[in-house]
Subunit: 438 residues, 2 copies
């Protein structure tokens, strides 16, 4: 284990927690390394809307002065700035909410604090985690590229070694896409498996919390802390004999060469390790899920953003106003049909997926695009968000441009831990490309 | 219109708003009448966990000093104490949260304030709106009987003329049952049609806000304020030619004589007014919805109450601890099956219901039981909550005991306004039994 004090920010969450627990270093030393890294890098990366080193130091000192609370004792975690935190503002990266400061912790923040985590700061996000103002965040692998959105700061802060762990949210592709673009592990668990209380709502029937780390075991550690149990037996312990499906999904025509190559690399690696890899074609009905996602998201936003619209009206950004006013003209019959298609496909996908240890599918069309305005496409993520399935981004490959390219492992609802275990096994077998030291 | 200043608390919300708007009386005069009524009655009814007359007076004075904000300008509204309010604590009626005071308004509270409403106080509730500690609230029609739960204080405060309007929530039968027991109008709209942000989560896939009033038009007024539009055409303007189904639901064997009589009265009245009334039998699959509701509610509570469990452990009430620990042993396969049955039946019910202007069904097995410990049964409400359909309680009849007996009108998802219009037409045709002056 790395124990040079000035390199503690390079530890993953698991090693960081173990180091604090064993007394190899203090939470304050760990926090100081993360603070120093953040201060050095912040002008380039801009991963935070609010970052107060003194508050971090106070939390670390308090953790050092008390008995261990839990599995994350003394470990810094970043929080996307649409999740409320008792001691820091929650701005949604909106000009209208710069002074917004709910004095309560979101459920996920409460669980993290209960496990001893240090709330390191608020991660920049696309406005309201939807659209409008972009995060100022840049991709640590190439400052001229987007880190993806909307959980831009959460993914970039972890990729840049500023914090070992961070929390994001996903309604379309806002956890998995940034993970793919930034070359980190990301997880969107089964919908509603972690309480979204204290999160700014967008589309409650699909809004999902998620998290980032630099190792599979860190994703698992957060599963434990956030209550994602290994609900059911059947978790594979070896790729030999494992059964994995690969699914091109209905938007396969959007996959660029880098994602096609990464998928092929994963399939080849799985097969080389003795896994049975099967091609899974989704039924024709699934083609409608992308359109259904749009109807549901935009229709639900008419309710969730009504208070903001009543208070701010046309001062909100034009695209949001158009959505709230339903300029697209979605009827409630459209919405019922979208809900019913989603319900039907959820049941059907689980039937198809349950025989497999995981289902492999692209995380994004390609590596991160240039510029900060275009945060990339959620097209490969939306159907899984709508299907409520657990999704894990594996930082699987590197494109010829040198940029990371992720692959998603998904599966039936509530097979989160089985899916993660399979992803971890694949990761161990892949050529070492993600570049994160253990 | 009643305009005696000392009787202003007897006005419904619509007349109260009109009176303030026209200058017939001030918001302060209206508020004072409600305050006086509340102070006189509070020792008997106990509808509030927090009630601060000075804060009410300050709000009323502010409304009187400004231009009208909206449709509820100067009108007092009660708020169930699981919804956060910037200026009042939110205790969940839990001994562990007596000092809990989120400094932000729930979405519904924000919409109410935006329309000019006065937040009158926090209504007592069953602990966490689930179980455990009961509200201290008594039924205004008989102090020896329950007002129902969990929105006990909201329904009783409206029934007792302390406020014209109040907000509740429903995960099982917590809006409609108290409305039936207290003889007031209650509405649980289509799931997710009003943002639940700022509500203590219980089971997010079915948690639904609702509201109370003493007239159908007040329920409609709150629909307008809270963004429930008449999404689609087809709202009936007369019972003559209207088409109504009556549905005994899979739990009809639980209906006592009072509810059977009330259903017969409504059917007879509809027919006498020229409506076509058809018997709707639900398909066999719907029988499983009651068990599915239990699986979903209890499984989701394992996530939503995890922060409280981690912080408080066995200090929480035993039934909640057993639920969070999953002592019932529900598997995630059970949960998937429950979600899928719900999804299937949602689509099927809408198909069955859309040809009708509304579907009539009991609100409760019988009138309010004696005592405060037993808050009555949600058996007639759960399946509609799970189906996400709009439900409106009509204070339709009076039992031989003198207690009110409600009937529910429901319909396909998002036919809220059509269902309400049909309910209002039925109400106008029923013998005058609910006893509320206009």
């Amino acid at each position: 284990m790395l124990t040079r004090i000035d390199r503690l920010h390079c530890l993953d969450g698991t090693d960081a927690a173990a180091g604090v627990a064993s007394g190899a270093f203090t939470s304050s030393q760990l926090a100081e390394a993360c603070i120093e890294r953040t201060l050095v890098r912040d002008d380039d990366i801009h991963a935070w809307t609010t970052f107060d080193p003194e508050m971090v130091r106070r939390q670390a000192a308090a953790r050092d002065a008390e008995k261990p609370r839990g599995a994350l004792h003394g470990v810094p975690v970043g929080i996307k700035d649409i999740l409320s935190t008792e001691d820091l503002p929650t701005s949604y990266n909106s000009e209208h909410f710069q002074a917004h400061h709910p004095n309560i912790d979101a459920a996920v923040v409460s669980l993290l604090r209960g496990a001893g985590a240090i709330i390191f700061g608020k991660n920049d996000t696309v406005e309201f985690a939807v659209n409008g103002r972009r995060a100022k965040t840049r991709n640590p692998h190439d400052l001229n590229r987007t880190p993806g959105g909307s959980s831009s700061g959460s993914a970039a802060a972890v990729a840049d070694y500023q914090v070992p762990l961070a929390i994001g949210t996903q309604t379309g592709g806002s956890v998995i896409r940034p993970a793919s673009y930034c070359g980190v592990w990301g997880m969107k668990p089964t919908w509603n498996a972690v309480s979204a209380e204290g999160m700014k709502s967008c589309a409650p029937s699909i809004d999902t919390l998620g998290w980032y780390g630099r190792s599979a075991r860190d994703i698992e550690l957060l599963c434990e802390v956030l209550g994602i149990a290994a609900y059911e037996p059947g978790t594979p312990t070896s790729l030999s004999g494992a059964r994995v499906a690969f699914c091109r999904s209905p938007v396969w025509d959007k996959a660029g060469q880098a994602s096609r190559d990464a998928l092929a690399l994963c399939v080849d690696t799985l097969r080389a390790c003795g896994a049975e890899v099967v091609f899974l074609e989704l039924p024709e009905r699934f083609v409608g899920l992308t359109a259904a996602h749009k109807v549901i998201m935009q229709s639900e936003m008419q309710s969730t953003f009504l208070p903001e619209y009543r208070a701010l009206g046309e001062a909100l950004y034009p695209e949001l106003v158009a959505t709230i006013r339903n300029d697209a003209g979605f009827s409630r019959a459209d919405l019922r049909a979208a809900y019913d298609l989603a319900g039907e496909c959820r049941a059907r996908f689980d039937e198809l997926a349950l025989p497999y240890d995981a289902v492999l599918t692209p995380s994004a069309p390609e590596e991160a695009p240039f510029g900060l305005e275009n945060t990339g496409s959620a097209t490969f993520n939306r159907i899984w968000t709508l299907l409520h399935t657990p999704c894990i981004n594996i930082p699987a490959a590197t494109a010829p441009t040198g940029m990371p390219v992720g692959m998603t492992m998904t599966g039936a609802r509530f097979t989160d831990r089985r899916t993660l275990a399979t992803a971890s096994l694949l990761d161990s077998a892949l050529p070492g490309k993600n570049g994160f030291p253990r």
